[in-house]
Amino acid sequence: MDAEILARIQFALTICFHYIYPPISIGLGVILVIMEGMYMKTKNIRYHRITKFWVKVFALTFAVGVATGIVMEFQFGTNWATYSRYVGDVFGSPLAAEGVFAFFLESGFLAILVFGWDKVKPRTHFISTMMVALGAHLSALWIIVANSWMQTPTGFHIVQEGIMTRAEITDFWAVVFNPSTLERVSHTLSGAWLTGAFLVLSISAYYFTKKKHLDLAKSSMKIAIVVAAFASMFQLFTGHLSASQVAATQPAKLAAFEGHYETAPADLYLVGWVDEANNKTYGIKLPGMLSFLIFGNTYTPVAGLNEFAPGDRPPVNIVFQAYHAMVAIGMLIILLAYLGVFYWWRGKLENVKWFHHVMMWSFLLPQISNQIGWMAAEIGRQPWIVYGYLRTKDAISKTVDSGEIVFSLIMFTLIHILLLALFIFLLIRKVKQGPDGDNSENDNPEQQLQFAE
């Protein structure tokens, strides 16, 4: 295999594994703020206990997230040196801003969040929790500013030529608020909130099925349902905004989402298959619906893939499938979140066994849709690394040969599998242990309350 493919596989592999953890941190961060906020407001020791439990889950996730994330900060230089030279003037600033504004905040206050329970006043601890959550969100903001600039580059001009060609900033705020930033940040964040919320839902549901730590499970599940109900609707809304945005700025990507070849009023597929050899898409579709979603009517034509030279098109079927699976899972997430709301409303949250068994595994849904949503976005941008300006094949490091990448790729694969296995093992262990100081098989919330007072 040539160096380009290997470098791409390595980047995909490292980012996919890395992106298992940060969405949990972001979503769990929000939930921790709510839980500890409830404790500050009610002074109910129950919220204190559950916050402490989820902080441990957060700390474990954060550690693996940091470990896998450091690679990302440097991989642009190691494997994408030509890209780094070309975009450094524009792309480096958000990355540096992420370090200065987000990473320091997150990792600094994490110390108080995890180790500071007995060292600072409750209020200071709560502020620290908020700072950690804020840091996680700012981190997402800056890295998606950088990524969105690759999707919809603005605020720069191209200078020099030959090997010295590069993009230089003309307007910093136009880079930060490029046409897709807000849509993509909000869509990514709602995905992350769902990831955290569904992890909490899954673990709480597990406790219900085992009839253990019911106090923790009940309070946690309710908070997570609130977050999931809000985030899943916000996800739908920002998803729609993102798709309309792609239609306006990245027509080839949009056409690949729906396997749309001829420029004509466009259909929306529910399921389908793209025959890339014959430029045809088969499946069950809603006629004119894509045009309707973008333009508000069913007859406005949408640019098809045939408008683009074969060398300028992304791989179609994989983008199509990833996009459609993401949307389908998104709908399933909404359904589950509102089933939770329904059972809570009916006062049955603790009794519906089938729901607990389903929810136990529901943490996988946001994880999968995060991964495939990003695949649709990133593969859909191909063959460009900076849309319309720099091709992925022209962006790799010239001095790194495929043998070297094979070495690092094998190492990364082994390390990431090992880390994921250990993460799962330790998470399950922590879940089985339950919260500290709670060895009862079936704890009694009334007793806990009395103890608190």
Binding site: F76, F115, E168
Partner: protein, 341 residues
């Protein structure tokens, strides 16, 4: 914005500041890791880990931010060095990953085998990180074979020549000393007595290696001293450096560990300032002088450097403020409790 101001120079200083911050702060984490296996006692190992527990993660952010700032301010330096040092850099990344997770994972099980495995991973990766960083620094001092098109190609073995390896080993000893002194400020009793001994041993090792490195620099890389002819004030840096190093055993003997730690911080900082003065105005000196990456030919545009300066001026005072607060909150001796590693 910032018309007529040499932002390239300012960014050279700021990036030096970030990497010095990293070396001073994560230096003691790496040092504690280096010494970790010298005690066999589980609770002593836990005390050592918890001495760095609340801060190591934040300390590592200095490296990540330094890398990001290098990318933003001097993209050619970022691209050339990281692609040019590919294999050693990958090994460095693997070590950083293992070190980070071993700290977190170790405490998650009581099993002896489990803890021993992560202790070894933690210690080896700490030594390896210090060594590789020193070797990289040594190679940059002697210059690397950058071509006219800014590209650099090396192999692991072409980088492992005597002078860089000497710098690497010196770095390991320096951080071990730094970590031992830091840990004495955080511990009591028997462990503290052990740490004082390790501090002395690693200090002697460091001073011997430091003298050898200096002799090596005078003989092999006399160009590192050329900038000192520009201003007599620059001689203050080596002077402070030497005074700080001499002060370390004096303060240790008096039992003033915190002062010894500050001296050790000053020593690391001044050594890196010496390095920066030595290579200036290059960021990465090349074996063929005209191919060197300088603060001018490797930099981003004036505009970007200006934007970045504003980001730094807003962000860094905040970072320094709350980092200081967090160090203040976690001052004093380590006490193991439920939330400890």
């Amino acid at each position: 914005m910032f018309e007529g101001i040499d932002l390239n120079f300012i960014w050279f200083v700021l990036i030096a500041f970030l990497f010095i911050g990293y070396a001073v702060l994560d230096g003691f984490d790496l040092g504690v890791g280096t010494l970790h296996l010298f005690t066999n006692d589980d609770s002593e190992r836990r005390v050592l880990l918890n001495a760095i527990g609340p801060v190591w993660d934040g300390n590592e952010v200095w490296l990540v931010t330094g890398g990001g700032a290098l990318f933003a301010a001097f993209p050619h330096a970022y691209a050339t060095v990281f692609s040019g040092f590919y294999i050693p850099f990958m090994i460095l990344l693997f070590a950083i990953i293992f070190r980070a997770v071993s700290i977190e994972f170790r405490s998650k099980s009581e099993s002896k085998q489990w803890r021993h495995t992560w202790d070894v991973a933690f210690s080896i990766s700490s030594v390896l990180i210090a060594l590789l960083m020193g070797v990289a620094l040594g190679n940059i001092i002697i210059g690397v074979p950058i071509q006219a098109n800014f590209e650099l190609r090396t192999t692991l073995f072409s980088l492992l020549t005597p002078y860089p390896v000497l710098v690497g080993i010196t770095t390991v000893a320096l951080f071990a000393m730094h970590g031992a002194i830091y840990a004495t400020t955080k511990t009591e009793g028997e462990l503290k007595a052990k740490l004082r001994k390790w501090a002395n041993t690693s200090m002697i090792a460091f001073i011997v290696l430091y003298v050898l490195t200096t002799i090596g620099t005078v003989i092999f890389v006399p160009s590192m001293f050329k900038n000192f002819s520009n201003s007599v004030f620059l001689y203050l840096v080596p002077l402070i450096s030497i005074l700080a190093i001499i002060n370390i055993p004096i303060q240790l003997n008096r039992g003033k560990e915190f002062r010894a730690f500050i001296s050790s911080c000053v020593a690391i900082a001044t050594l890196l300032v010496l390095f920066a003065i030595g290579i200036f105005p290059n960021i990465v000196p090349a074996t063929i002088a005209e191919n060197s990456l300088t603060i001018y030919n490797a930099s981003s545009s004036h505009k970007t450097l200006g934007v970045m300066l504003i980001i730094a001026l807003i962000g860094m005072p905040l970072v320094i403020t709350y980092t200081s607060i967090i160090y203040w909150i976690f001052r004093g001796k380590v006490k193991l409790d439920k939330s400890s590693y």
